[in-house]
């Protein structure tokens, strides 16, 4: 994988405003908000699988939806480098550094649509992500119609069949006439992948694509995704809460906690040279299929659960659960520290003071 940065995210934030309570309205208080993503930075290189890992509610999905432009960010920048053929169609004025597009700005309709083809998303729930009233064929035809791909029905059928073959749903004619409920979970997820591929994207956000699938077929979908990546030169943002899956498929892992990235490094480093106490806790908590484990109490060094994203603790947001919490942690938010060239951590323990 080269060092070509395909997506550069800087200071990205997404706050969801909460409805103000009557008391707040009466006392003229400002409405509160859920700080789902609270200032994150990362670069994604072309051809890599970049993982976002973290507990429920830490903002992984929100990040994915921001990158896919399903929701607008509260602030921050997302610079995306489109593929050369898309770049040709973009007016020079909107480009940053000649080859990047600012995803967070309001783009004209036609350009926005053009960029939709570049970044696609695969959802966690393969049932919910397919329209239950449409047949597989129509589900796959939707993106073609929207983007005017293929001028005749015949051409479209060929494209759809090719996509189904690519995700190993063969023979395609056996699947095109089915409704989503006539497919197994794995088959549904393949259809979702086929739909994402039809538009020829360069970046795919995969939001927990195997979490709802049976263990016995997860590997199959993961392998399919890896194969497709090699074949099509794709880049993935892979979202998961399962560190084992992340370590299996990802090149780099970013660990999120309460809307922040606390540690980011290549997979081996995260697992073998773990720095952040939260990452350590996560790793310690992962169960292993080893029957001798039942005689040991698993040491999970952190207590309690993730606090609400509405009232974020001051200082380091992890300090109430951290076994190493120091004074400074309660006062000041830790900076992102470059521990080694590819390994960044946000923790006062590693600050050179």
């Amino acid at each position: 994988m080269g060092n070509e940065v395909i997506l550069r995210v800087m200071g990205l934030k997404k706050y969801f405003p909460l409805r103000r309570t009557l008391k707040e309205i009466l006392m003229f208080k400002k409405g509160r908000s859920v700080k789902a993503v609270d200032g994150i930075d990362f670069d994604i290189h072309r051809g890599e699988v970049f993982c976002l890992v973290g507990e429920s509610g830490c903002g992984k999905t929100t990040t994915g939806r921001l990158v896919t432009r399903l929701i607008p960010p509260t602030s921050g920048r997302m610079l995306f480098k489109p593929s050369p053929q898309t770049l040709k169609h973009l007016p020079k004025e909107i480009l940053v550094d000649g080859e990047y597009v600012e995803l967070s700005s309001k783009l004209p309709k036609n350009i926005s649509r053009l960029l939709r083809r570049e970044i696609q998303i695969i959802f966690q729930d393969p049932f919910g992500s397919l329209n239950p009233r449409m047949k597989v064929y129509d589900i796959l035809k939707e993106p073609l119609i929207i983007h005017g791909i293929g001028s005749t029905e015949d051409e479209r059928r060929k494209l759809i069949f090719k996509a189904l073959e690519e995700v190993k749903l063969t023979p395609p004619e056996e699947f095109t006439g089915r409704f989503p409920h006539m497919l197994s979970g794995g088959q549904r997820q393949r259809v979702a992948i086929a739909r994402a591929l039809l538009l020829g994207p360069s970046l795919i956000v995969a939001d927990e694509p195997v979490s709802m699938l049976d263990v016995s077929i997860r590997a199959e979908i993961l392998q399919l995704m890896i194969d497709l990546k090699e074949k099509r030169g794709l880049t993935y943002i892979f979202i998961t809460h399962d560190l084992a899956v992340a370590s299996y498929i990802c090149n780099r892992i970013a660990v999120m906690y309460l809307g922040k990235i606390v540690e980011v490094a290549p997979t081996d480093e995260i697992i073998n040279k773990t720095l952040h106490p939260y990452t350590k806790a996560l790793l310690a908590a992962v169960p292993e299929p080893d029957p001798s484990n039942r005689f040991k109490i698993r040491e999970v060094p952190i207590k309690g659960e993730v606090p609400s994203a509405v009232v974020i603790p001051p200082g380091c947001r992890f300090h109430p659960r951290c076994p190493y919490a120091m004074d400074v942690c309660r006062r000041e938010e830790p900076p992102s520290i470059e521990y080694s060239p590819h390994h960044k951590v946000s923790c006062w323990l590693y600050a050179r003071r």
Binding site: R116, G128, R133, R195, L199
Partner: protein, 490 residues
Amino acid sequence: MKLAKILENESFRIFIRSVVSKAGLTFLFVMVAISIYVVATMPLDFGIRVWSNPKLWADNPKNAPPIWVNYFSNPKLMEHVRIVISKPARVESVEGGGKIFTYVVTYRHGYEQFPQTIIIRFQNVTYYTRYTPVIEVSVRRPDRLVIERLFVWRALTTAGKPPYVRSERIDIEGYKEAAPQLSTFLLREFNITITPERILSREVPATEIIMGKPTVKDENLQFKPLKGRYVFTFKVRTYSDKDYVGGIAMVFVGRAYGLMGTDNLGRDLALGLIYGFPVALLIGVVTSVMTTAIGALAGIVSGYYGGFVDEAIQRVCDVLNNIPLLPLLILMTFIVKNPASKIKISPLAVIVMVLIAFGWAGLAIVIRSMVLPIKSQPFIEAAIAAGASKLRVMFKHILPQVAPFIFAQMIFFTPSAILSEAAISFLGLGDPSIPTWGQILEASYRAQALQNGFWWWVIPPGILIMYAAITFVFIAQGLEPVVEPRLRTR
């Protein structure tokens, strides 16, 4: 091919399994069939041209029950009879020009009652010269007595240019020309002296003299109806070869009429009631289709757009939902029915428009709440991620999810539209030019039909209103398990 597909469809199978849906569908089928028949056979302006045209009903008995009451009652009520003759039985040419047409009307009487009266109509007596045709009427009774020259009628006017066309309606009661002849007849045949004045004043009705046998009982003269064949002969003398008579009609005004009886104007209720079918269907379908269409659109837009649009639509809905509909309807129809008002809209259209304008709000609120969870479903996000426009998302992806519900609502709304129209009409605010069941009911109420025992004027429209409502309620009930899968029983 298509039909087979529908029959195989699971939703349809679930729908048709229940008894109520079968009943509902049957009712609907009957309703639609009758409506098609009505539209095909009756004039569209039936209301103005027929129903509200008193001339057409003048010969009918008033407040007459339907003839089938004779199955249940004794003595039998005389059925209303109308005989039309358009072809003369004989035509003779007269030397020196003109012809004599002889028309014969035969009537067989079989009741212990007299007709209320006898009405004779000459239709389109057409002539071309100043010599007007003369019609001479005579009767032969079952007892072989003959009333010669019961009366002689002349078309007297010759104003303007030929051809001259005259029509005449003669009610034998109080008809001056006939009284002297009847007086003579009684004297000659029965030796009874009744002055023509007494006949004209109806003290001794002409009908009874023509069709009865006089008896004197306790000094009182009484007539008993003569059963059997009456032959009325009409001799028409014309004075030009071109002259002719369009037709001759005789009405023996009875006491029982048609399938559904008559109202106080003699209108045939069967016609009014049958005409009510397409009207009810139209009111119901137009109102419910428009209401659900607007409601669904507003609901989807409101739910999907959110924000200010949502807030605005929902506030409008709240307001609409909290305005009491009936007083408003009354006010609106009152305004348009006021002769002084400049707004010339049919009150029926006003009723339909008000029902639509105020009916969609409730649906919009429900649809909105259904759209909210659908909107956040991943497949909607998938469509957006694929680049679908807002319109496409709303109509291609959200609408089909709520469509079954909308369809059921449409059917559910139909009876309430029909009932609302009936209620308004019952309050006398309907559209007089279009008869509806509610209006027939209202007329009966105004005529105190119930107090007078004219049940045939009250019960059938009531039943039909219920029938229409129940048809759609049944279908809606049958649809419920289709739309709400949790109600499905195994």
